[in-house]
């Protein structure tokens, strides 16, 4: 079993599904010979041919729209949007059609498609290459929004997303594409969607996050452990529909919750978790919920980027607030 990175795990899952299901096709800009600007589709066109791995003309609205059309006929398009910053032209087809085709036709037609996009900041990229707007998609009924945070979850969740009979927005935290390696067996075992993963059990405080920020969140949990604080760490993994029960149970146990997101604070997905707690977990809370989030500004260009990204220190400060609250 090889140790692989997240982006290699994505590639492995794509290859697995291309081999397993003839209806799966991979499409997008530069996914063919070039293997994707992050190499997520490297080697796939060579291995599976130009009818399974297709370079499209440059038009994200088109990529969204034809994926819907293909999916209505039972194909399983796995489309890549090169960066999340270029996903917006595709929103209309995702929101108005992919998310609604099954409902609209009472199940006669459906949209078993996946739209993959690398997302998030922290890689010193140009403008529009650092977006974290997952909350926009998590508000759309009929969609699934899935975000892996490790190579193993990248592999298992992408298999699940491709096999899922409904449309999935699969957001890949590019900052950790190559950050860690992990043993991942190419065993075709999908992970469950619609559930959280408790990455670390703890009893004093619950830290909730998803995607790349779990890296900082887990580090914060380590640092808290060193201070004698037992932090439970939850990876939301599927943001839509989301597993509030696991979060509520955890907070019922710990009484304190810090939510960590890279996205702009206001209207981010963290707000939904905080709202859930205000509505259904209020009496478990010993301290106010704390959101550690990106600021409500545009992600700055690289020179100031690091000041925007939530840091371990900010997570620790929020945890301290929650723990010391009396």
């Amino acid at each position: 079993m090889a140790e692989i990175t997240l982006v290699e795990a994505i590639n492995l899952a794509l290859a697995h599904e291309l081999a397993r299901d003839p209806e799966v096709v991979v499409l997008g800009e530069d996914v063919g010979v070039n293997g994707g600007v992050f190499r997520a589709t490297a080697g796939l066109q060579e291995r599976f041919g130009q009818r399974r791995v297709l370079d499209t003309p440059l038009a994200e609205n088109m990529i969204g729209g034809i994926s819907v059309g293909m999916a209505t006929q039972g194909m399983k398009p796995v489309a890549e949007i090169q960066f999340m910053g270029f996903i917006y032209p595709a929103l209309d087809h995702l929101l108005s059609h992919a998310a609604r085709m099954r409902n609209r036709t009472r199940g006669r037609l459906s949209c078993p498609m996946v739209l993959r996009a690398p997302y998030g900041g922290g890689i010193h990229a140009p403008e529009h290459h650092s977006e974290s707007t997952e909350a926009l998609f998590a508000h759309i009924p009929g969609l699934r929004v899935v975000i892996p945070s490790s190579p193993a979850r990248g592999y298992g969740l992408l298999l699940a997303a491709i096999r899922n009979p409904d449309p999935v927005i699969f957001l890949e935290p590019k900052r950790i594409y190559r950050m860690v390696k992990q043993e991942v067996a190419d065993d075709g075992e999908a992970l469950p969607l619609d559930v959280c993963f408790t990455l670390r059990e703890g009893s004093d405080i619950t830290l909730v996050s998803w995607g790349a920020m779990l890296h900082e969140t887990l580090e914060a949990a380590d640092r808290l452990a060193a201070q004698g604080v037992s932090a439970e760490v939850i990876d939301m993994a599927t943001l839509k529909p989301f597993d509030g029960a696991t979060v509520l149970e955890s907070v019922a146990k710990t009484g304190r919750c810090v939510i960590v997101q890279e996205a702009a604070r206001t209207g981010g997905f963290g707000s939904e978790i905080a709202a859930l707690l205000a509505e259904q977990g209020l009496m478990s809370l010993f301290a106010p919920v704390q959101r550690v989030a990106g600021y409500d500004t545009v992600m700055p260009l690289p020179r100031l980027e690091a000041h925007y990204m939530p840091s371990v220190d900010r997570i620790l400060a929020a945890a301290k607030n929650a723990l010391e609250y009396a």
Partner: protein, 350 residues
């Protein structure tokens, strides 16, 4: 600008010799039946809306040759990707009158076609179906299936990115797509001339490297002929065609619109001379295929079909409110169970 292909003049007589494989005999009569059925349905639907028994409805009055004609030469296994005004095409494809009334009456079950299971439902967001059609065509091509996707949109739709992106892809991927523009001269209140400076909408095909043709959309024989050859090209691997069907929207944009605000009655009445149904009837009569008795019998038959469908539609009990949850995902996600339960527990409201 442009001189659309035409075989039947407004008076119903031939303007040129019919080509081989032109629509004739029983098939032509079949086309006529669908056109008349479309008009009866259409008129009834507008009346139902006016009396509060149907939702907002887009009449296809005057466009019956275009919508029926585009569907006539399609094979059952082809896929229609229409906009919202193609009632004639749906009927010919086998969508039932009751289904259509249910849809426009505000019931999702109207899009669960018992007949053409692969056809797409009404697309309300303008031009989006052009890309769906390109996607359907891509699926056929990738699977090596000899099937064709037919996308239909209006003149207004040709200003929107989706339209260009769809035909551009169809050109470069040589997709089995026939893209049909029903140019009825108006997009609500905006006339065709305010949409584009292109001399014809068929010219837009040049940007995609595919053939484009203007066709008299009020001439069933011409529409059928152009469609038939575009379908054959697509099916044979020859790629995509853009057809601009020239017609006129005789009615308001929808029952929510009042076209007198923006276009003179005189313009509308002038277009009655082009009426596709009268034109075809004259032709059929000239050919000895039609007479008053047959017309009366047909009207009686179709009227009662429409009445029966209206009855069935009005008698269809509404879905339970919880139905709004039941086809959102293949399986109800646990996160939605509580909401569904809450809705189930609500006192019914109207």
């Amino acid at each position: 600008e442009g001189s659309p292909v035409r075989f039947l003049g407004p008076g119903g007589s031939l303007t040129q010799a019919l080509p081989d494989q032109a629509l004739q005999g029983d098939e032509l009569l079949e086309g006529y039946r669908f056109m008349v059925l479309t008009r009866l349905y259409d008129t009834k639907a507008v009346n139902l809306q006016r009396t509060g028994q149907l939702g907002t409805f887009p009449s296809s009055l005057g466009q019956e040759a275009a919508t029926v004609g585009l569907a006539l030469p399609m094979r059952p296994e082809d896929v229609l990707c229409p906009s919202y005004r193609e009632h004639g095409a749906y009927l010919r494809r086998g969508v039932t009158l009751t289904e259509m009334l249910l849809y426009w009456g505000g019931d999702e079950r109207g899009s669960d076609f018992a007949g053409p299971r692969g056809d797409l439902p009404v697309a309300v967001p303008i031009a989006t179906q052009a890309l769906h059609a390109a996607g359907v065509a891509a699926a056929f091509k990738l699977r090596d299936e000899p099937r064709v996707a037919v996308g239909v949109c209006g003149d207004g739709a040709t200003s929107k990115g989706d339209f260009y992106e769809a035909i551009n892809l169809a050109g470069v991927w040589k997709l089995p797509l026939v893209m049909v523009v029903i140019n009825n001269q108006w997009a609500i209140s905006v006339p065709r001339t305010a949409q584009t400076a292109a001399p014809t909408l068929a010219h837009k095909a040049l940007a995609a490297g595919i053939p484009g043709e203007q066709v008299d959309g009020n001439d069933l024989i011409a529409v059928h002929h152009a469609m038939q050859s575009a379908l054959a090209t697509a099916r044979g691997g020859g790629g995509s065609t853009l057809l601009e069907l020239i017609t006129y929207r005789m009615g308001d944009h929808t029952t929510a619109d009042d076209a007198r605000r923006y276009r003179p009655d005189a313009e509308v009445s002038a277009h009655w001379k082009e009426d596709p149904i009268a034109r075809l009837r004259s032709h059929l009569t000239e050919q000895g295929l039609w007479d008053k008795a047959r017309e009366e019998a047909l009207l009686e038959e179709l009227n009662s079909r429409v009445e029966a469908a209206v009855e069935e539609y009005l008698a269809t009990p509404q879905q339970p409110p919880t139905a709004m949850f039941d086809h959102l995902y293949a399986e109800l996600p646990p996160a939605l169970q509580a909401q569904r339960d809450a809705l189930a527990g609500e006192v019914p409201r109207g």
